[in-house]
């Protein structure tokens, strides 16, 4: 059994769990132990209520109509933009573009940064990037006959800094993940951004996994673009954000063309709307953007620093418990200070999907597969892994359940 250090704990889990209605349900007759947070997080009642409130009380389209409902909806929508700005410390709301997810945000960033790319120009990514921060660059490199360089990962599951230094020579763009969705590695974004800038490259940072778990300050990091995903941080699905430095977004071509993103349309030409609307063509996902504000309020109220401390405590417990299981290999840094609470692992020769199915029967939800990181799987030399990822409502009881569940897997399949 684990010995919880409740006194030192920055979050009141008992109180937090009451806010998440789904945590009351059972799965196969067992308490739900939800450890698939890197895929999507559960939603607090506050977020669920915000969606219902919009549809029940002020549903209307934004930015155009002049009636009261439209005014209220527009205000609520733009209020979320202000909250995102504050959450990541951007300079202005002009720098916050709503997209449908982090993948779309990264695709917009890829289009913004590559419009004037020439054949032979260099784009640098890393082995630990998610497909959504890899495939767009790979395809644009093919289109533009540019070079794509992939920075190696070390045996300690970190970005290989000497390889990074040499590959960044002459690079135009460096796209990398702030926190790996497989390894949990938290990259030193500020340092890597500084190196890239010194070499003259623009920096696109994938924050889909970092923004939910650690304090993010884009001005302090210095990155040129930053992408995040609402549904991985208590918000609804269908909402992502792209942060881009104002002067860069001003110069960049729009991504999608159509309604809402224009200023004037003539028979032979069109002028673009101001930032950030130039990048938000068509009717946005209004309800979910509005509800995302409730998620940001929730996180802000708890405090991202507290959340980070909580997850580091969880990390220590998971690393200690899983190291007791024979043949269990964790792919990721061992130092809780350098990683998030996402653990990819394999257990002997047992297939990841068998592990996931047996844990499911115990009420434990984990992910299994390649986690949209096939380059990394190839590097690790495994076809798939299981992945348990924790969040603010997970406690030592969940770590304990995972450990017991994995012992059960061994019992059944060995």
């Amino acid at each position: 059994m684990l010995e919880p250090e409740i006194a030192a704990h920055p979050l009141d889990l008992e109180k937090i769990r009451l806010d998440f209605p789904i945590l009351k349900r059972t799965v196969h007759g067992k308490r739900l132990v939800y450890l698939d947070n890197a895929a999507t997080t559960q939603k607090p009642q506050q977020v669920i209520d915000a969606i219902s409130d919009y549809y029940s009380n002020y549903n209307s389209n934004i930015h155009r109509s002049v009636h009261l409902l439209a005014e209220e909806a527009t205000e609520a929508f733009e209020n979320t933009r202000l909250k995102v700005q504050n959450f990541i410390n951007a300079q202005s709301t002009d720098e916050i573009v709503f997209t449908k997810n982090a993948t779309e945000a990264l695709n917009v960033a890829a289009r913004c940064t590559t419009s004037s790319l020439k054949p032979g120009d260099k784009i640098v990514v890393t082995e630990m990037d998610h497909h959504s921060n890899f495939v767009p660059w790979q395809q644009i490199a093919k289109e533009k006959r540019a070079q794509l360089e992939i920075v190696f990962t070390t045996e300690d599951y970190e970005i290989d800094e000497s390889d990074l230094e040499s590959k960044l020579d002459g690079a135009k763009i460096f796209a990398f993940t702030h926190m790996s969705n497989v390894l949990g590695t938290i990259n030193n974004a500020r340092k890597f951004t500084r190196i890239a800038h010194e070499k003259g490259a623009l920096v696109v940072l994938d924050g889909a996994q970092s923004a939910p778990h650690i304090p993010v300050n884009v001005q302090d990091i210095g990155c040129d673009y930053f992408a995040l995903s609402a549904h991985k941080m208590l918000g609804p699905t269908g909402v992502g954000c792209l942060y881009g430095k104002r002067d860069l977004l001003l110069k960049a071509p729009p991504f999608l063309l159509g309604g809402d993103m224009i200023r004037e349309v003539h028979r032979d030409r069109t002028t673009w709307n101001d930032l950030p609307w130039k990048f938000e063509a068509g009717t946005s996902n209004i309800a979910d953007v509005i509800a995302f504000a409730a998620a940001l309020d929730y996180l802000t109220r708890l405090g991202m620093k507290n959340l980070q401390i909580h997850e580091q405590e969880i990390c220590k417990a998971v690393l200690a418990e899983l190291s007791k299981i024979e043949d269990l290999e964790i792919y990721g840094p061992k130092d809780p200070e350098r990683r998030g609470a996402v653990f990819a692992f394999n257990l002997g020769g047992i297939h990841a999907h068998d592990i996931a199915s047996i844990l499911d029967a115990e009420g434990i939800a984990i992910r299994s597969g390649h986690h949209c990181a096939q380059i990394l799987m190839e590097k690790l030399g495994v076809p798939a892994t299981s992945r348990a990822s924790f969040y603010l409502y997970n406690g030592y009881d969940d770590v304990d359940a995972l450990s017991k569940g994995l012992h059960k897997v061994r019992e059944v399949l060995n």
């Binding site: 199915s357 597969g369 399949l413």
Partner: protein, 137 residues
């Protein structure tokens, strides 16, 4: 038992696979994979007197797919071509002890049957119908 999915039959074939290996010069070979689990199954068959005279499987993947493949080789062995044609999803699942697989993992169990049928039709110079292929994936 912790899960309905891992019936004794499945665990038995998973832990002690029968007919796993390679035939020297099989008359028909088919291979397919399941993108979900990354399961790979290959079936090799020989026929004589209108019957399956030899069958082996090879593969890599989850317990469900590999157990299903092994079990299927035993079901098919010695049967006439007409009998093999009649083996469908229901027959396969019954032979696995009717596990409660759910919509996702059932694909793991069905993959070997699809591969075996593909090998059979290949031998006969036919191809699997879209209808049958859909019923097995």
């Amino acid at each position: 038992m912790s899960s309905d999915m891992y019936k004794e039959i499945i665990l038995d074939y998973y832990k002690n696979p029968r007919n796993k290996g390679t035939l020297e010069s099989p008359q028909s070979v088919a291979r397919d994979s399941n993108p979900l689990c990354g399961d790979v199954v290959e079936m090799q068959l020989n026929f004589s007197d209108g019957k399956v005279s030899e069958i082996k499987f090879n593969g890599d993947g989850c317990a469900i797919s590999q157990a299903s493949a092994s079990m299927l080789t035993e079901v098919v062995m010695g049967k006439t071509i007409e009998e093999v044609r009649k083996i469908d999803k229901n027959v396969l699942l019954e032979n696995l002890g009717s596990p409660n697989l759910g919509a996702v993992r059932i694909k793991c169990a069905l993959l070997p049957l699809k591969v075996m049928k593909t090998a059979l039709y290949q031998y006969l110079g036919e191809s699997i119908t879209r209808e049958e292929s859909n019923s097995l994936s």
